[in-house]
Assembly symmetry: C2
Homo-oligomer: 269 residues x 2
């Protein structure tokens, strides 16, 4: 089983009852947090996410709307007597920042905290059921997408048992903040589900590119060229109260495109 629950689908600000980027990837009984905008904790409460099941947190880049909720979440883990080690994957500067915050508050975490600096495309995590890779995307500052791949299971006949159908591997790619860039195709090719930012509608293509962001058609073209099964759009600019045009535009290129919605869990089956 692989699924993603959207906690925030807005860019930069919280507005129109949409929140900053955060999402939870679920594989069997493990939860993985991807990005952590301010108030992600409150979104977790709202949507009944079991924080204690999160052992790995991935931060795409160090713009505030993608990580300002992280220090508070780590505090909460500490205050609620978390014991399990916590792994954080991000560009190295985040460790400097967290160390400074701990120092000026004269605090330490009550759990083992393991920071994994991201410096290039790599396999970040390889568990029995799932692996997580990172890949570079094109943003104004260093920024990383994350690829989750479940391993599937072959068909099996145990003696005296009926045939168990094979479970095919599944994959989910979070493409972070990025302008249109085909260099990610090598990483996300054949993905079952791609989450790609679409900060702007197509008539803002110039602004999108100048700000290292994408339009709805940019996202759809990436999904099409990657041969993805499904596409979720997100990271919408606060200038848009109504998101339906994003879906309409993207579907011209990639018919299965959907607007991501907060609180919804998208199953990848």
């Amino acid at each position: 089983m692989l699924a993603v629950t959207i906690l925030g689908n807005n860019s930069a600000l919280s507005m129109h009852n949409r929140h900053q980027t955060a999402q939870v990837v679920t594989s069997e009984d493990q939860l993985f947090l991807v990005d952590c905008g301010e108030a992600t904790q409150l979104q977790m409460e709202r949507y009944k996410i079991k924080k204690s099941k999160i052992n790995h947190i991935f931060i795409s880049h160090l713009h505030g709307d993608h990580y300002y909720g992280l220090p508070g979440l780590l505090n909460t883990f500490s205050l609620t007597n978390r014991i399990a080690p916590l792994h954080l994957y991000a560009t190295p500067e985040l460790k400097t920042l967290i160390d400074l915050q701990l120092k000026i508050s004269s605090s330490s975490f009550g759990f083992e905290f393991i920071f994994h600096p991201i410096t290039g495309a790599a396999t970040l995590l390889d568990l029995p059921g799932i692996s997580v890779e990172c890949f570079p995307v094109s943003h104004r500052i260093p920024c990383w997408g994350f690829l989750f791949k479940t391993k599937g299971k072959p068909a099996r006949v145990k003696e005296g048992e009926t045939l168990r159908a094979p479970i095919p591997p599944k994959s989910y790619a979070f493409c972070a903040d990025s302008k249109y860039d085909e260099s990610i195709l090598e990483y996300v090719k054949g993905c079952n589900l791609i989450y790609h930012e679409a900060t702007y509608l197509d008539n803002q293509a110039e602004k999108a590119a100048a700000r290292f962001h994408s339009t709805s058609s940019d996202a759809a073209t990436i999904a099409l060229k990657a041969g993805a099964e499904k596409l979720l759009l997100g990271h919408f600019s606060s200038k848009y109260a109504d998101l339906s045009p994003f879906e309409m535009e993207a579907r011209k290129t990639f018919p299965g495109a959907k607007i991501s919605k907060e609180g919804i869990t998208y199953l990848i089956n």
Copy 2:
């Protein structure tokens, strides 16, 4: 006119639909923000606080529940094209942290940002209608209370006009996070309204003192000895779902004690 609107009355965590410390002091048409826990921005939206009227922000100390909402608020000011200068008053390390956050996000504020380091008791601000002083309190790390004093107006009779009654000066003291400490009395003596933390009930007095926090009776005793008119209790531990015992305990010593409630504006008249 002097008033305070409570945006957060809980300690450490957000829980029981209570939030981390933040409050807005209003004097005439000026708003002053005191502390800024995570998601203070969302509380401001909920309670219709006009963010653009905030020109001065005071942070008592650098425990996360008192400032983790600040970086996001500053971002929002920048993204929403704030022009007016913004003054921030806090211990010097907060400047280091903000500078680091700007550096790693390769960003700058679009408005003039003036940081005022707090290093001892001082008058931080002296405007025509109001002044703000800081005073040291006893916490685990350097921590500051803030005293807001309106200046009042003398009685006047302009020629041909009726007598205008004098407007007496009013004062509000935010006593931050502190264990019981009578040394603050010299600053808060005769205050119209004192906001004092009461993290714990009286039966947790030992724990309160060990953690540099106060009980409901500690807060009430300070208000009594200061000769304050009114007392608001706040910064409640998340272990308490029901806050009514705080009021009952405090009223044994100081009959006018009240639990502070989020979203409520307390007028000091």
